[in-house]
Structure formats: C-alpha cells, structure tokens
Symmetry: C2
Subunit: 408 residues, 2 copies
C-alpha cells in the first residue's frame, strides 16, 4: 500500500475502524517472510505434503463433470454434499452433527466474524481465554465488545475464574474457547474442565463458542469429547478444513441450533452472498475416499516429529528459567521468558538474526504477554526448527544483560 | 434448516440480528428453482458459455506449477499478479487504477460489507438509489444506518434530490450507486449526471461508493466514464469477475485511497483472513491471454439477444398501462405495473404458474415497490424468456379484475 500523509476520509470512519492501523509487528513480518529467515511465527500448515496429483484429478473431475455448478453462485448455507462430509469429519472426533445444522463459511475465521456479528452489541461483555487466538480477537473487536479474559493452565481454561466473573454479575454474550491444542498456548482442556465449563454455562445460560481447528492433529493420548457433544443445545461449534486439507480453499463451518444457524446463514449471505462452489466441490470430493486420511496420518506424524525437535531444542538453547508448554497436538508451543525480557521489542533483533516468532502481546487485548512468545513448529523442517531455536536462544543469551539492566 | 419452536438464544442476539429472519419470498424462491419454473428472478450469469476445457487447463496448470501457493494461506490484500489483472479489467473501461490501491474481496458483496463495516456507525445516514441493489441493502443494514433513498430516472440517479438532502442538513457517510445497467432498474447514469454527482459529493465531502459489476456487459452506445475516473480521491470503486468470468470463484475487489484501503484490508483480514489463493491464481491465469475476451464478446451477444427477446415480448404480453426500462447492458428489466397490482402477493400465484420474478419491495427498505418487479434476462434461453413473459402476462390479465377490486 502506498504511503500517505493526509487522509481525506479521516473524519468519516466508523468508531470500530478509527483504531484500525497496521502494527509494527506487521511490518516486521513482511521482512520475516524472506527465505533466509526461519519463521517460527506463521501458522501455515505443511501443504507441500498434499497429494498434488490427486488434487489435480479432483479439480479436473469437478470442472468436467459439474462445471456449471462449480462456476455458478450457490446457496448461502453451502452445498448439502459438502455439509455431509464436514459432519463426517466431526464424527471422526465422536461428535454427531446434522448437516442441516451446519453452515459452510470462508474458513473458520468467517464463522468467528459472523458469530460476533449476530451476538455482540457495542459494550456487551464476552469471555475469551488468556491468551486468546489473535484472529478471534480481531473478528470480535469489530463489534466493540468488552473483552473479559480467563486464564489458561495445563488443563485448559480455569473455569473457576469464569465462575467468579458470573458471580460478580457479568452476563457475557458468550464464552469463546479453543479446547484442543490451543492457539497460542498449546494446552488442551481436560475432561473434567470440559464438564465443568459446559455445566456452568448451561446453568448460567451463556452460550459457548467452541473453535476446534486442530482437533484431528493429535500426536498422543486419547481424544477428549468436544463441548458440542457434551451439550449441543448451548454450544456453537466451529471447524475448518485448513489443517486437514488446505487453507487455500477457504472452507470452514459452524454448527448451531436452528435459531442461531438461520441468523448465521443470513449474515453470511449479507457478508459475501455464498462461498465458492468450486472450492466446495473440490473439498467435498477430496474428502470422499481414503487419500485424505492417508495424507492426514502422514501430516500428524510430520508435525509430531517437528514438535519433538522443538521440545528437545528448547531446554538446550533457552534460558534456564524460561518455561514452555508441551502440546499433545496442533501447531504451537507457548514460551514464557524471565520477566525482564520484552518480546515485542526483541522481535526486531530476532528478525535481524533471521528468526521470527509472534510476541505474546498479540494474544491479549490489554497489553499483557510481553514476556511470552508463540513458536510454531508446523511449517519449517526439523533442521530449520533446530536452527531457529538456536538463533533465538543465542539472541536471548546475548540480550539478557541488556534487558536485565533495562528492567531495573 | 430444521424447524424449531423455542430459541434458547432468543435474548442473546445483537440488535442487528434480532430482525434477521428468512422471508416468505425466500421460501418461494426455493420452489422456483425447480426446472419446470421459468425463473426471471435470479441474477445468475450464463456460465454454461464458459470455455470449460480451457478452465480445466488453467486449474491444472495452477495446481501443478504453483500448488504450494494455491493451497496455502495468502496475503489479506490478495496476490499482486491478480491485482494487476483486475486493474487491467478496469482499464478496459478507461479507468486507471494502481494495483497497490486494490484489495481483492470475496465477490463485490464482501467489499460492500467491508465498506459498511469501516464507515457506518449505528444511526449514521447513508444514501442509496431508489430502488437499490438488495445485496447492498443487506450488507449495509448490518451496521444499522439510517438509509436515505434518492430516485432514479432514465438518466440514473436524480442528483437534485441528493442536493436537497444535503441542503436540508443531512451529512451522509457515503452515497452508494450502481451507475451502469443498474440492478434492479436497468438504467445507466448519463455523462451529465456523473459530472454533477461527482462535483456535488466532492464539494460536500461525501464519499461515493461506485459499484460496477456490469460495466463490461454493454450492448450498444458509448461507455460512460466511471465515477472513479472522474474523481479518484473521493470514489471507492467496487468490481467483480462474476460477470466476465465466474461467480463460482468469488473474486471481487475494491479500489480506494490509501487510508480507506488500509482499513479495508484490515477489516478483510478480520472477516476471513484472506481470499482463496486457488481461486485467485485461477482467475489471474484465466484473465491472462485472449480466451476470456472471446468468451466475453460471446456473452455480450447472448445477453443482448435475450434482452431483445424480453423487450419484444413485454408489449405483446403485459398490460397496456405497464411500463418498463430498456437496459443498454447488464441483466435486468424493471417493470412498473398499474397501481392496483401488488407484486409481493402475486408471486405465489406466479410460481404456481411456473414463472418467477423478484417483487420490487426487495429493493426498498421502506415498503415501497409493491407495483414493481425485476425481470432478469441473463440466464434463461430466448425461448424460456418468451414463455416466462407469456406466463406472467397471462397471470396479470387473469388477476387484473381481482386486484382492481381489492385496491378499491
């Protein structure tokens, strides 16, 4: 985007847009996308592992056999065949879903936007985790809520804190959670916490928004039941094919009870009329058959090894008093550094040393997270992960004295 | 969607969503999609004319040569190559655009949503035409504006009425217009009116949102300059490939000055992270070369003939005191019936006779349009258009007495 000095629209923006501006972190990430920088920042799935010849066959068949449908407008709710496949994906994790209760969205991100749109009035309280997925914070913020945060520990959301909020009289429009392999925290909500959360929210009549992009990327241990399966009437479930197939087709979905679903569909139509039929048909056909399962098994194995490499490198390279989570799946490790470090300011030096991460501040709306960083192990090779953690560790060692003296 | 009785979320919705509910017209359209019904309702382009073998080659090449990019996340603004092609499309109509000033959206519909999101606070006035594109009304309404309408005549927007509004002290956030082959009215803004509108809005510091989906579908006469070319600093331009290529790829765009553009990109990222790289690469490559031009020439010829058939059938079949517009391009004829008719209630009987249209009320937020209907000539064959107009004409003749007596 070109530079500018005077904005002739400066007094025309809506309140929600006045504060929208590109962050410094954003500018650094532009630099960090150069190939010589090891990026532990992005959440890009390893699409290089996809069976590309098979995807080509799928696209060809869709265009030749159903070109008139693929290239035309479609229904706002999404095609029925695809909705059935997406319900089948949910069944893999033991969640029953009626394809009639499902709306296809432009990635799960659009589902977050639509949930915000139909539920949030300016000033309404909503509850998210601390830290919380940065994309959810952006999506919801457009509707001007008061964002309340509830801490995470190794068992996921600390439900007692939510209970305290409710006791203090807060009546949030909803509670938003990523129960499996949390972004950015890497933790997974325990069975006990799930039951506790669902019971509390049912009792208090606070809907739960369950965002589950990583659920099928489990490296070890038993799957936990989804919140939706524990209490379908009070949970809106969000899914995506970005991690099990491809983010390039922008196919996500929401499952909700009829009243909510109807509003999500109408809001979806107002937002972009309908999803891409071409992408929906390609996704539907890719998820038909067995190739996707083999690919997913391979991906889980790849991600597991990459996580292992990162978890092995961290104690070797990072300060002795740093701490990090040990994710049982997904994409992310969440690192807490000694308190004298400041991850937002450290990022420029990191990029100079050709390694990138996401500063923890991105995941809090209130300025917290200055000692935290999110490290992704999904995309770089094992060797690059080792190299990236090494570069970061050297940076932390070299900068320790400086940051210690600054914090005094 | 399943039926439901009690909505447990009933007291949780945002104000903007409380009124969202599926209309009766919607239920009728579900019936109208049956193949024995001649639909003069939908705005579906005639994608059957696309060179499908060529599209298959394009998709294949994209996946084989750039699969890793096509199936991955991309930048919120959209790929640079595609932005260059879209700027080239604008150059076909004589409008210069810098690809840097362009953001790719999920169809032009998403651009409408994003424009509403960054500009409208609840209660803000905005100006649209009377009648106005129904999708724009839905998109903007989510942000709770006061919608002011300015009439159209055969030369497009009656700019004097806009001037009166401004003189009365209204300060709208923007004026929204479809200057070419208006949806639903079929009229085109004259050169004089364009200059008048642009000068008035510049003077009053009211931004113009120019929505131009049909500009390249001109059947006769000389193209008019786009509003953006007359005053780039005060006009946000919206385009789409839905009519020159395919709506199934969901590729639209907005061109705006840097301050607005930056907010549109950030709002786009909050809404769905990024567009589909696969669709963007396919569209970019389809618009490279000459095949798309030949296809477009053929399409324009097809639509022109279909319009001619509709304009020839109307005086034969419709009541003598009905009136309609004579579009020089695009998809739609706008019919005004004698005042005793009521197009929303007439629709059920029309669908029973196996013909469908869109009642005029869809295009006004204030209940007007009960004597109007929008007829589309874009999708049905010439024979089907003749048959559809015949069925409608017979219905009007048969119902005339009834409606006359009801209106007394």
């Amino acid at each position: 985007m070109a530079e500018f000095t005077v904005d002739p629209f400066a007094d025309r923006y809506a309140r929600r847009a006045a504060g929208m501006s590109a962050s410094e972190v954003r500018a650094l990430f532009a630099v960090a996308s150069r190939p010589d920088v090891v990026s532990l920042a992005g959440g890009m799935p390893f699409v290089e592992a996809l069976p590309i010849e098979h995807v080509v066959e799928v696209a060809e068949a869709v265009l030749l056999e159903r070109g008139d449908v693929a290239l035309q407008y479609g229904a706002g709710q999404g095609s029925e065949l695809l909705r059935r496949r997406l319900a089948m994906l949910m069944a893999q994790e033991g969640t029953e879903a009626d394809p009639e209760d499902l709306v296809v969205t432009t990635g799960a991100q659009q589902a977050l936007d639509l949930v915000g749109k139909i539920l949030i009035d300016p000033g309404d309280a909503i509850v998210v985790e601390a830290p919380a997925y940065v994309g959810a914070l952006s999506a919801f913020s457009a509707y001007e809520p008061r964002i309340l945060q509830v801490d995470l520990d190794d068992d996921g959301m600390v439900v007692e804190q939510l209970e305290d909020l409710l006791v203090r009289g807060e009546r949030p429009k909803f509670v938003y959670t990523v129960p499996n392999f949390h972004n950015p925290a890497g933790v997974t909500m325990s069975r006990g916490r799930r039951e506790q959360l669902v019971a509390l929210c049912r009792e208090a009549r606070v809907p739960i928004i369950e965002d589950n992009p990583y659920g099928l990327l489990r490296f070890e241990g038993d799957p936990q039941p989804t919140l939706r399966s524990l209490d379908p009437h009070n949970v809106v479930y969000l899914g995506t094919v970005s991690k099990v197939f491809s983010p390039g087709v922008r196919v996500g979905w929401a499952v909700a009870e009829p009243g909510v679903l109807q509003r999500l569909v109408l809001a979806k139509e107002a937002a972009d009329l309908c999803g891409s039929q071409l992408n929906m048909l390609i996704t539907e056909r890719y998820l038909d058959g067995e190739a996707w399962r083999r690919n997913l098994e391979g991906l889980v194995e790849t991600y597991r090894r990459r996580r292992d490499v990162m978890l092995a490198a961290l104690p070797e390279r990072f300060p002795a008093d740093a701490e990090w989570t040990r994710p049982a799946g997904g994409f992310y490790v969440w690192v807490s550094l000694p308190e004298y470090f400041d991850t937002p300011t450290l990022l420029a030096a990191a990029v100079e040393r050709k390694v990138a991460y996401v500063p923890g501040t991105a995941f809090y709306p209130d300025g917290r997270g200055r000692q935290q960083m999110r490290l992704s192990f999904c995309y770089p090779t094992e060797a690059r992960i080792e190299e990236g953690v090494k570069r970061l560790g050297e940076l932390l060692a070299d900068e320790e004295e400086l940051y210690r003296s600054l914090s005094r």
